[in-house]
Symmetry: D2
Subunit: 284 residues, 4 copies
């Protein structure tokens, strides 16, 4: 079965759900699930609709064109995607392998509705992992003073592999605006700390010194401001005085891979919309 996901937001006026469901009905779609949300801060209306395309009465071009008219009528921002047009992702890593293995395995189990086009790293350490899952591995070292050149090479690799979104699976380089702007709201990072506390380096050491009783991890979209992009997923795990910094790091691995995977799944399935500094993550 081919299905589609329509995401839109607009001013909160009467009749949006009716008009959208009529649009889908009249084009032969069958709504499987729909979710709505109104942002409290400025009364903006968000809608996510998942519909069956088996009996679609028009071709996709026509559907998109008619959607434009509906969008114009209500000043909607819309996005439409189809389940058989799978997105391609790149996974960026440095030397830690836990998030990489986790993404490979979840992809194999069919949990992620996207294809892994390439693994890219500033080190060669994890080439063997990509190889064992039959995914191309590209090494792009980042030399002192050579970050710009490296990012240009990375962009070339992403174009070559037709990459639509990036997953920073503990990639230890800060991205410049060149990459961030090329993939706006399409770069997912995992921060090994419970944002907005403990920004920056060595968050587990900071956590130990503060004697926190919970540690956490946060997945978020990358924006120009370091570790401050829209949060997608967060999770914490209980710790005590008896945990060493090494224990925190070990417990942190489990949380990091979990919040990253959930963000990747939601992004791949088209369940995320970004508004202001917040994400609306429609439910699975």
């Amino acid at each position: 079965m081919v299905s589609a996901v329509l995401r839109l937001h607009c001013e909160d006026v009467k009749g949006i759900v009716y008009n959208v469901s009529r649009f889908i009905y009249e084009h032969g779609g069958n709504i499987i699930d729909a979710q709505q949300h109104t942002e409290q801060l400025d009364k903006r209306f968000f809608m996510w609709v998942h519909f069956d395309c088996t009996d679609l009465a028009v071709d996709r071009g026509a559907l998109r064109k008619h959607l434009e008219k509906l969008a114009a009528q209500f000043a909607m921002t819309t996005e439409l995607s189809f389940s058989d047009e799978r997105k391609r992702m790149a996974i960026l890593v440095s030397s830690y392998d836990h998030c990489l293995y986790d993404l490979f395995l979840r992809h194999q189990y069919g949990e992620i509705d996207a294809d892994i086009g390439v693994v890219l790293s500033n080190h060669e350490t994890l080439a063997h992992v990509a190889k064992s899952f039959n995914v191309p591995f590209v090494h792009v070292p980042v030399l002192a003073g050579g970050k710009q050149a490296a990012e240009e090479e990375m962009l070339r690799v992403f174009r070559e592999h037709e990459i639509e979104f990036l997953v920073l699976a503990r990639y230890m380089q800060i991205l410049t605006p060149l990459l961030v702007d090329s993939y706006r709201h399409r770069i997912i990072n995992v921060h090994h700390g419970f944002l907005p506390a403990f920004k920056g380096a060595r968050p587990y050491h900071q956590a130990y010194e503060h004697g926190v009783k919970l540690i956490g991890a946060t997945s978020h979209y990358v924006t120009a401001e370091l570790d401050m992009g829209p949060i997608i997923e967060q999770e914490t795990v209980r710790v005590s005085h008896s945990h060493s910094v090494e224990d925190l790091i070990s417990l942190g691995r489990d949380v990091e891979k979990k919040v990253l995977a959930q963000a990747v799944r939601a992004h791949a399935a088209g369940r995320i919309m970004v508004y202001r500094r917040r994400t609306i993550v429609f439910r699975n």
Copy 2:
């Protein structure tokens, strides 16, 4: 603002969302939130719609009448309720007060969209709690061999107080079909154990002897079969070998009151539908 909740289920055919949203639109309602669900076991479609009634074009009688026509067209089972027609609940207790206090306080905080009409007990122990919250307390003792008479008296009390649903807040009597059938899918119980394990008496002692590492509680609708009605909410809490039976009971209190309160909130807000032995609990 007065709003309404429409719940329905029917065979999963094309156009339900469209027809329901058109129905609401054409009668002047404005959809605030809507949720859908299709049961996997037999492809039955469920829908929950919350809509603003400020600009309703017809009176409620007419709305209900027109809804009947729509329901007939799709062989729908429907229920319609309005936010200003608050339901009235009775809380049944024996001697434990933790769930009772919790419900009183949540009601005071505005978390429960229903009114507490009466507290009824087979003991007099908790009369002072009801009094401190200014709610009528009725003592209906259950004598040996007198359960039938007691339940008839209870039904009389519920009628007098116009009670629409019952909350068994650690009420330690098993109900007979007389009461259960009078309030079908409208009696909420909390079981102090993680059903379906540990049915029946002294679940915390059973849990200790089995050396479980989690204990839990379950809220569910009461049916003829003991502790086996449709589950509404469940939760667990971590325990270890070092917890005594008394510790388990103490930890259990926190879980019991939480799962009971969540069930009461969902029921009061009209967010629950029952199908087969499962509940569909639409999200808050």
Copy 3:
């Protein structure tokens, strides 16, 4: 059964456990539970011993005196308390009642090994709650420019009621050094936010604007630096884009009362030691 709790810390040298257990054995005590901990930052050794005093061979004065000798030998800092010398606590509140009810009820269930000597408030709002649990209520208003005078009056009340530690159960006044220094590491506060993020005012509004996916609460000892004292307990609860600020506040109530109660239980039972900015919380 009367039991005692001995807490100590000292440099981590060989034979501490042996010498402490010999000390208890030779004085007729029977160890029920003991826990040890070595701080990673500077190799300091912490020990907590719970022992049965039924067959104690000496009186408490002699025991304390002999303990001093042992402490001198290893340069230990020690504290010794007996289960029949219950501590007395004061609960400070403003207008929110959820933590107050929770502490009263847990005290009634026997979960807190201390007595509630007095409830003190800068408002009269919650007098009726204290009354319904038969605990003295004292109203000490804090007038503009009169904080010093108010704290002096508070200290007088605490002396009168022989108060040994203070619980700020959503008390909305910042304490001055007068009170903080009088009850060093004996004032427990609950912060309605997941420290160290969102310090200061309106943390739930901050959380909403950041679009966090978890909210939390933190209980900690009060020190001169606002909301930065040693953390005792923390907990988070999952939220989503669909939760309003009011929902966050409501969910927050449950977490606040839980982390405050756990801190009070641990403190009352003598299970907490403070070192640097960290707490060692021995397990129940």
Copy 4:
């Protein structure tokens, strides 16, 4: 640093902690951590002591011999193990790989204090995974009517690889007493269901039909009675009506690997004692 773990249980009489700590002190050991526990059901005392052996005054043979004398004096059951005598484990699998990958990776991160001697399977499906981690893989098919022969072959393989404990990482064969008795309390299984509910086959289908709101997994020692051996670790994850059986299976994978890994870590580190049908799992 070489360290040792001493585990013992005996009748709960005065002076055990003192005598054990004296024993260690007098032999030159330095206690790093010690935990005690008294079983409520019959007042049996359990103790776990982790001590530094750097300055051990005698050889291990002498230490063991002297320990026997202490054990005889108090009718203790004791076990003593040294950190440099690492245990060897076999992992048994069928076709699911999630637990296998998880154990390999945690072993690589140093989280498991044991060596993986061999992976054994009734299928060849996962040979490549063992190969990619450089661990021997042995295929022992279980033919109809040939279970006894297969288990004899398995025992031979385990002897050859000097295997001390077995981990059933979703191994889909029921073991006979031949294997179970050979590795009493040394076979760890993960049950994909929250025991003691949903014993036996297809627990996720059972869970769906019951409409449970939590699913879980349980790791336990294998005994003659199916899925009823002493529980080591349990965990649950929240589900709703909207999760399909496939979703439950997917969520279950995460819980299964987590509870299995925690059981393996605890067993490898010598932190588990079994008594009656309960486990005492000393804390990390």
